[in-house]
């Protein structure tokens, strides 16, 4: 999504005007409805054509605790999180001083007058807003006061930055889906606040926005919605899930859309969604459904994944297609349920006892969340295997720009399923009686029938215990050996069905590897590195097991930095394991604190190691 970086440094000196290049952070209390205001600002800027991203830093709590929303505005399209906050809007008395201290020198501190910070910093430009008074004057009913209070800062900010009031109006229209009364009320508060600011504030800061054309044709979405839509267009038939942040929205949004678009004219559903009693049930249900020929999925996060471990092994060894979305949050253990991490890679790749090596997909943006949403089913059914889509809270719950979602460019690939007539034909063609685990094609992928196929000989008995090519129980050592190596072959040859890595770069000797949401920081990080004199090539991994391109990339570079949001450098470890010949050139750039990585951290780490 990044535009061609301009030659000037990312942030300009405070003295002159700063246009379309800063971050706004709103500090509020959760449960007070500030999300609407924040989204309104985000959308209005986006509508003005300016690249934006929005990130919600919220507590694992329902009401009353501090929460922050950060909007990054960047004309180059550098949209990763930054540590610097140019504009802070303080609405929460509990954190007002910390919030003030966050502002960069020369930045803006905009605060609700009733939260009364004790002593303002000299090096920031402070503005106070009569939030409660304006809310009162809005004429909103008392129960909406808190809510409306948040619209005040939208109006004041609009004045200070020059946000188009029409764009705000458009954002409100969208948000309230045209409910005129709500739009009117909010819009009037925004305009009143704007007018108040016009009259009472003297603009002393350098920040402002100016229309661009950089978002034309783009949309804003969160990754969970994108994933849900992807699954919808993937023809998902069965969803079993158990609530857990940050994956809950994915399942709920999916059910919402299924009820909208997958009910037949006679009222019957072409899907089933079951809120299970726990994740053990959720995954076992999905495995039952996948086995029975449905496109089946579940969505969860770390703790749920951990509970699914045993069943994952069953799906691996009994060769049952099933899609599992892991919207990663911070672990180990319950960890930080509302913060982001890329920490489940190693665990899931090797999940369950015995030898396994699972397929992981790494969507990096909302368009890939959508695409992998449907493609994961094709892969799972083609390879008769569990497929893990490794999203994270940052992608899943934050707001990202992207292309409109693209309709699948391939028909659904149901894999090697044999129905009644197919089976007949198959046996004639192949000249052997069908066996569930026979590798007749040499690709390690057997053919399967599914429950309901009434042809004689179609049925078989599935189990997680040792079985031969005809699915018969056996403890024969040779057969066990043969079966697990056939499965290994299936995974090895099956890599061709997985999304290939994406590469970019001039062909230098320093490489960077990243995956998933860490990609968001890469254009800026590489830009910063270039300015430090380090030109880099970039490869983004989109799936495990690795494609050959990954090895080639390692081979071509003197040093390769693997960037990821976890403590141990999990992908770097995997790369070393798989590419012993290049192991020494693999360097880890890893960090986890619950927040998305910043470009500065990445660039500094790499420069430091290169230096």
């Amino acid at each position: 999504m990044a535009l061609k970086p301009a030659p000037e440094p990312a942030s300009a000196p405070a003295a002159r005007e700063v246009v379309n290049d800063f971050s706004i952070t709103v500090a509020t209390i959760n449960g007070t409805g500030s999300q609407t205001s924040n989204l309104t600002i985000l959308r209005a800027l986006f509508r003005m054509g300016i690249p934006v991203s929005g990130k919600n830093i919220f507590p694992s709590n329902i009401q009353g605790l501090p929460t922050w929303y950060t909007i990054r505005v960047n004309k180059h399209g550098f949209l990763a999180r930054r540590d610097e906050h140019e504009i802070v809007i303080a609405m929460n008395p509990a954190t007002v001083h910390d919030d003030m201290n966050k502002v960069v020198p020369g930045g803006v501190f905009l605060y609700a007058d009733h939260i009364r910070p004790q002593g303002l910093r000299e090096d920031v430009i402070a503005y106070s807003m009569p939030v409660n008074r304006l809310a009162r004057e809005s004429g909103a009913p008392p129960r909406l006061r808190d809510y409306v209070a948040n619209m005040v800062y939208v109006g004041v900010l609009a004045y200070l930055l020059g946000i188009d009031l029409e764009a705000i109006r458009a954002a409100l229209d969208f948000h309230f889906r045209g409910k005129a009364k709500a739009v009117e009320l909010n819009d009037s508060v925004v305009r009143a606040a704007f007018r108040w600011a016009e009259e009472h504030l003297e603009k002393r800061d350098p920040y402002r926005v100016a229309p661009m054309e950089a978002t034309q044709g783009l949309i804003l979405s969160d990754g969970n919605t994108a994933a849900a839509l992807g699954a919808l267009f993937g023809g998902v038939q069965f969803v079993s899930w158990y609530p857990i942040t940050p994956s809950t929205d994915l399942a709920e949004t999916l059910e919402h859309y299924l009820r909208r678009y997958r009910v037949r004219p006679d009222g019957k559903h072409t899907f089933a969604v079951i809120q299970a009693e726990d994740e053990l049930a959720a995954i076992n249900m999905a495995i039952g459904a996948g086995w029975a020929g449905l496109r089946a999925m579940t969505a969860t996060s770390g703790p749920g994944l951990s509970l699914m471990t045993e069943a994952i092994g069953l799906a691996y060894y009994a060769e049952v297609p099933v899609v599992v979305w892991d919207v990663q949050r911070v672990g180990p253990s319950t960890g930080l349920p509302t913060r982001t991490q890329q920490g489940d890679i190693l665990f899931i790749h090797f999940a369950s006892h015995g030898d396994t090596e699972h397929i992981l997909l790494f969507p990096a943006n909302i368009n890939e969340a959508f695409e992998f949403g449907w493609r994961a089913f094709d892969i799972a059914e083609r390879l008769q295997a569990p497929v893990f889509v490794m999203s994270d809270l940052d992608l899943g719950m934050n707001h990202w720009m992207g292309q409109p979602f693209a309709y699948p460019d391939q028909d659904m690939d149901r894999g090697k399923v044999l129905w009644e007539e197919d089976l007949e034909r198959w046996e004639q063609e192949k000249g052997v009686p069908w066996g569930r685990y026979l590798d007749v094609d040499g690709d390690g992928i057997p053919y399967r029938t599914v429950m309901g196929n009434r042809r004689p000989g179609a049925s078989y008995f599935t189990r997680g215990t040792g079985h031969d090519e005809y699915a018969r129980y056996t403890e024969d050592p040779e057969v066990w050996h043969r079966m697990v190596h056939r499965i290994k072959k299936k995974y090895r040859l099956g890599r061709k069905y997985l999304p290939r890595p994406v590469e970019d770069g001039p062909g230098t000797e320093v490489g960077i590897i990243a995956y998933g949401t860490t990609d968001a920081a890469m254009p800026e990080a590489r830009y910063l590195l270039e300015h430090k004199g380090i030109a880099t090539d970039y490869l983004r991994i989109r799936a495990l097991p690795f494609h050959d391109e990954v090895g080639d990339f390692l081979a071509r570079h003197r040093a390769v930095y693997v960037v990821e949001a976890n403590r141990d450098g999990q992908m770097a470890m995997l790369l070393r394991m798989h590419y012993p010949q290049w192991a020494t050139r693999i360097h880890s750039v890893a960090r986890t604190d619950g927040l998305p990585l910043t470009a500065t951290f990445i660039a500094d780490s790499i420069a430091g190691q290169e230096g």
Binding site: R47, R262, A281, M285, W291, M412, M451
Partner: protein, 354 residues
């Protein structure tokens, strides 16, 4: 020549792989009765699908119905596995076979929740009071005070599978005994025709680890203490004519199932109303005090409760798993609509004034 049923099948058509259970194991008797019931009811094995967890009891489905699909899943997870699978083709009838360890220990949660969902499934608990396959540890259904040579004396109160099913809102709850083939077969038939989840808790002795005559799950004790609630008969819809012979009230009860089949209960000691959940609980509670093995159809709810397929609003004309891309992937125009209306859009010319 072997006898064939109305659909031209012999009993052999209902068999599975040769059993590897111990000789005399109750689970083998249960298998025989399932086979007999399906044979007599003229059910095509292809219309049945088998599920199980882990245990000797859960291995059992291998030894019947080799013409049916089956899935021997994970320990305790059979209810979940079956739920996911059965949704795929609601024209199939599911039989789940589990053990007391599998259901009342590790699988307790799923057992409770599959009841709530009223999944159409014949759920058989082959109950022997021990973990057979792991060599005879106490299962949670073992009676307090049971003493086993290698494991001492059980100090805990037993889980009563039927009481749990009743408390959990099951719509069909029965108890039987592997040594009472006639009753068991009738119950299996009735369960097969029940429009929801049917739990049959079968005392199924483990001859290897828990068959001392003093043990409540032994053949000896069960035979000596069985107290059937009624004599049971199952009459399929097409044979309803049989009911025409005169009936004296109080002697029999006739329970009509959703598909027109009928369960006839002939009174043994007293008239027992199996549609009264509360009476069932009382009968169970009394059976503890009297130290008897109460068997029969404890409870049945024939109407009022939707089954899971109904709740999910699944089509009846076509199994979900036979649906094609046309039915499953919404048209491109739908995505266009979503992109246009549900997503917020970037710069437009009007706003930027260009």
């Amino acid at each position: 020549m072997a006898r064939t049923n109305a659909i031209g099948l012999t009993k052999a058509d209902y068999k599975g792989a040769p059993t590897t259970l111990c000789q005399g194991c109750g689970h083998n008797s249960i298998l025989s009765q399932i086979i007999a019931a399906l044979f007599e009811m003229n059910v095509r094995p292809e219309d049945v699908v088998k599920f199980s967890g882990i245990g000797c009891s859960s291995k059992a489905p291998t030894y019947m119905l080799s013409r049916s699909f089956g899935f021997n899943g994970l320990h305790g997870r059979m209810p979940a596995l079956a739920t996911g699978a059965l949704v795929a083709d609601i024209t199939l009838k599911g039989i789940g076979m589990s053990g007391d360890g599998d259901t009342a220990s590790i699988g307790m949660g799923h057992f409770k929740h599959v009841l709530r969902r009223n999944l159409p499934l014949v759920y058989i608990v082959a109950n022997n009071g021990v973990y057979g396959l792991t060599k005879g540890q106490f299962a949670p259904t073992a009676e307090k005070g049971l003493t086993l040579k290698r494991h001492g004396t059980n100090p805990y109160m037993p889980v009563d599978v039927c009481m749990e099913a009743l408390a959990g809102g099951a719509t069909f709850v029965a108890r039987s005994f592997a040594g009472d083939p006639k009753q068991l077969k009738a119950l299996i038939k009735a369960a097969f025709h029940h429009n929801g989840l049917a739990v049959i808790d079968v005392v199924s002795p483990c001859v290897t680890f828990n068959n001392e005559p003093s043990a409540h799950y032994s053949y000896g004790w069960a035979r000596d203490h069985e107290a059937p609630l009624h004599r049971l008969d199952f009459i399929p819809p097409e044979e309803e004519i049989l009911l025409d012979k005169p009936m004296e009230p109080g002697e029999r009860r006739v329970i009509r199932l959703h598909d027109g089949s009928v369960v006839v209960l002939e009174q043994v000691d007293r008239d027992y109303d199996p549609t009264d959940r509360f009476a069932a609980m009382r009968a169970l509670e009394e059976s503890y005090r009297r130290e008897v093995l109460l068997t029969g159809l404890l409870y049945i709810e024939t109407e009022g409760r939707e089954n899971l397929f109904q709740v999910l609003n699944l089509p009846e004309d076509k199994p979900l798993n036979r649906m094609t891309q046309e039915e499953l992937r919404p048209a491109a125009s739908v995505l266009e609509e979503i992109n246009a209306k549900d997503m917020f859009h970037g710069a437009d010319v009007r706003v930027n004034g260009r």
